[in-house]
Amino acid sequence: MGTYIIRRVLQMIPVLLGATFLIFAMVFALPGDPTDGKCGERPCSAAYIAEFKKEYNLNDNLLLRYAKYTGIWPQDRGGEQKFDGLLQGNLGKNYNGYKVAEDLQQRYPVTAKLALVAIVFEVVIGIAAGVLTGVRKGGFLDNLVLVSTLVVISIPIFVIGALGQYFLGVKLGWFPVTVGSNPTFYQLLLPGMVLGALSIAYVSRLTRTNLVENLRADYVRTAIAKGLTRRRAVGLHALRNSLIPVVTFIGFDFGGLLGGAIVTERIFNIQGVGSYIYRGINNRDGMAVVGAVTVLVLVYLIVNLIVDLLYGVLDPRISHD
């Protein structure tokens, strides 16, 4: 187990470096000058631009800049050469001079809460619907859930968001319409549902398919033959094994959830990472975008490692030694 985790963590490093380099290269290829509009209604002075470019290493080529950003190459900090980058735990400053790490500290908890609400919805509603339909394949409930998941999958997330905001928020008044800067779980309930809507549909279909397949397996027949109740045979034996692909999906969908947060946070005015990245892209603030995405990719990789470790818990036949 220990060696497995160490091996996986080591494997993460090249992926993380590759993904950050990709984002780094794309973000700094964005057209437009980051010093535009920095000095009010007049063009910036040459001295300011020179200082700005020096501060953010904009005079170097892409590879050297990336090396300095990751901290494997020293950069000029107040006259002395210092290793100061990702490896040293420094995400740098955004173009407004604020530390990216501090910005993210404010915004990540919000998005984390949002993602947590979405995942709880996915797991609770998705798996419950999957089990109810899988146990009675072909029944009325089964067809109802199949049709409604198809409908949810085919409506784009921003339409679901706008409809939910209007009907549940404005008309019925069950949920707050927009979310402030320091939201509670209750305020994030509706945005979380919207964000997780697509995944709920997939989770319930996946649970259903796998449960139907496993209910035909020999070990379920044995469990029923030896006198277990159907509830116990389904819940303990069949469901546990059927959850492996579902858990895989949830881990793999986590990235999509964080991407979808850009849309959801925009609709509900949530001050999370999604809106931070979106604003960073529009303001050509490369440092902010790269920093936020780096943390995002890292979170994604860790979540997937945890998912892989969960396999062993769900199915004792899978061992990581």
């Binding site: 590759g18 964005l30 057209p31 784009p156 990235g255 991407g259």
Partner: protein, 311 residues
Amino acid sequence: MTEPAIEAVSEQKAVGALDARGDVGEARSLWSDAWRAMRKNPMFWISAGMIAVFILMSVWPSLFTNTDPAYAILERSRERPNSNAWFGRNIQGYDIYARCIYGARASILVGLMTTIAVVLVGGAIGVFAGYKGGWVDSLLSRIGDVFFAIPLLLGAIIILVSLPRTTNYWFIIIKVVLALMVLGWPSIARLMRSSVIQVKPNDYVQAARALGASPWRVIRSHILPNALAPVIVVSTINLGGYIAAEATLSFLGIGLQSPAISWGIDISAAIVGLRTTPHMLLYPSLFLSLAVLAFIMLGDVVRDALDPKNR
């Protein structure tokens, strides 16, 4: 032989089952089996019919409407559905019915072109990685992981913003396709790689190699036909997802832009009027959802038909 017996034998011959000597009849491939199963499924005909209509709409929109979708009558802005404009008019006074018809082109083009590009690139990389194995496989898989770790929507936004700005319709479409392709290929590559690895150790592949067939021939005539099924299913379902992604990018103001006509643009312009003029939002969303639904349903049907366990 009595009359009924002859009849029975001839019936058996007709369906290609056992003939009079008890030999097995004409061999049926996975694909012809799947086709037989699909033909009987009404869902297949419904989704295929819907897709055919949408494709016809995108190739030849004037077949469905005579109205110019770019002809705005500002004084009739936000008009409700009536006999003159079936779906009503939007804020700019455009005829919503005509815009829905003409908007199909952008979505269908993005969906089809992205799927083709993703299958070609992802499929080629997946086959290569799975067939070669060893360090080539590890390297390509890690590169795929790198792209996979970046969320599709997020990466697509960055790519679209960093590509040069243009107002040319085709360039914008190609930009969107490119952005979705760059981030979409790893999922197909992974799928292709795993099914190639499953097919490769089979006896018929080894026999072909032993007989001296070139790698290209082994891949083309022995591995690909047997490894393609999951890729086709997933890409059909993904096609619907790409159409939705295009609309989402337009909603964020990054994909297609006016004066181009697309469901995504119309939906995002109509969301402000959700409370007062819901018809402006309803019709473009309905068309978009039906298009996505058609492809997802088709994918589901094909998957069920290809899976022998479901029969």
